[in-house]
Symmetry: C2
Subunit: 203 residues, 2 copies
């Protein structure tokens, strides 16, 4: 019974205050930002007593870090594990984000916290590197000449689009996708016409 109190069902032991707290975090941190969301308000929204919150998390910093840690599954696997797409299509699918997302929470956290040493900032860094790595893997699959370079470039495009969407309040992902298409076509040797073929290219 060491630490399995929070399984996927989360019904063991208690009534799931932790999940409610994290759910409220997801909503409020996105709507108002991290710094502008107080613990009082957060606990009220989660319908959790403040005392309980501080029994689950040693402080707001830890809550923020855990809040970030709960984003991976949907985003990362949701895009890169789609076997119905060619590698090239998968690379481009990373730019098909629903217009709901206000701003990549990792960027927002890193900017708001303003401390590179903060655990959440470090995690944001790790996450961004992981995304670039997955892009690199997919770029390699697609047959790119320099997959690392292409992965890094596409990652930069995604972050640029996210930032610009936020600052300008106007969807910048189509622009980024257009650049991505150019970069991919330039990086993949023209002889390998894998645009529409679902087959895996040998490496």
């Amino acid at each position: 019974m060491t630490e399995l109190e929070k399984g996927p069902k989360g019904r063991r032991r208690g009534r799931g205050a932790r999940e409610r707290i994290l759910g409220a975090s997801r909503q409020l941190f996105r709507e108002q930002g991290i710094n502008r969301t107080g613990m009082d308000q957060l606990c009220a929204a989660a319908q959790v007593s403040k005392r309980t919150a501080y029994q689950h998390f040693t402080g707001k910093d830890e809550l923020v870090t855990e809040y970030l840690r709960r984003f991976d599954p949907a985003v990362l696997s949701g895009v890169f594990d789609r076997t119905d797409l060619t590698p090239r299509e998968r690379l481009l699918a990373a730019f098909d984000i629903p217009p709901s997302t206000p701003l990549c929470p990792y960027i927002a956290a890193a900017v708001e916290l303003h401390d590179p040493q903060h655990p959440a900032s470090q995690y944001a860094r790790d996450y961004k590197k992981a995304v670039a790595a997955r892009l690199t893997d997919t770029a390699r699959e697609a047959g790119a000449a320099d997959p690392e370079q292409l992965g890094e470039q596409l990652a930069l495009l995604i972050d640029g689009a996210a930032t610009r969407t936020r600052v300008l309040d106007d969807d910048a992902f189509p622009t980024a996708a257009a650049i991505a298409a150019v970069l991919i076509d330039n990086a993949v040797p023209a002889t390998a016409g894998d645009d529409r073929r679902g087959e895996e290219v040998p490496r």
Copy 2:
């Protein structure tokens, strides 16, 4: 004598508290962020009494807005008005930023303030549009087929590099510059070899 109290010399009327405040803002807002810099600390750094600060600015919001407004001259004209470079070189020069800049202050402000209605956020938006417009102009000079698209694309690259540099704590501008070179070469009709020629291309 309507409003010329703050000329370049700034010696008229008093001893220049306003400029000292804005100078301290430039330093502290960049080093610590806007939200994490209190007015007390800022006034101490500026060697200005708090009372004086609030006689120059109705509130912190106005100070932040004015702080952003003081950035233009160096950045915008410093890059785009260089007549010693070809248009193409000028476009690429936008990516030669000194490694001192922590993060584009406009992005930082927009994210930190977290309110699109805030005057500073609106100004950040205007500024970003102005930069894109100048890039578009230069792209047109360089003979790009679709200068507006290229300008928007380069602006996205700059913001992506700025964001990524901040989040990853690693200079991303070379990557962005590499992408920019590809985009420029793709956008400019191959026949017009203006790479090294200082002459103005007719539009």
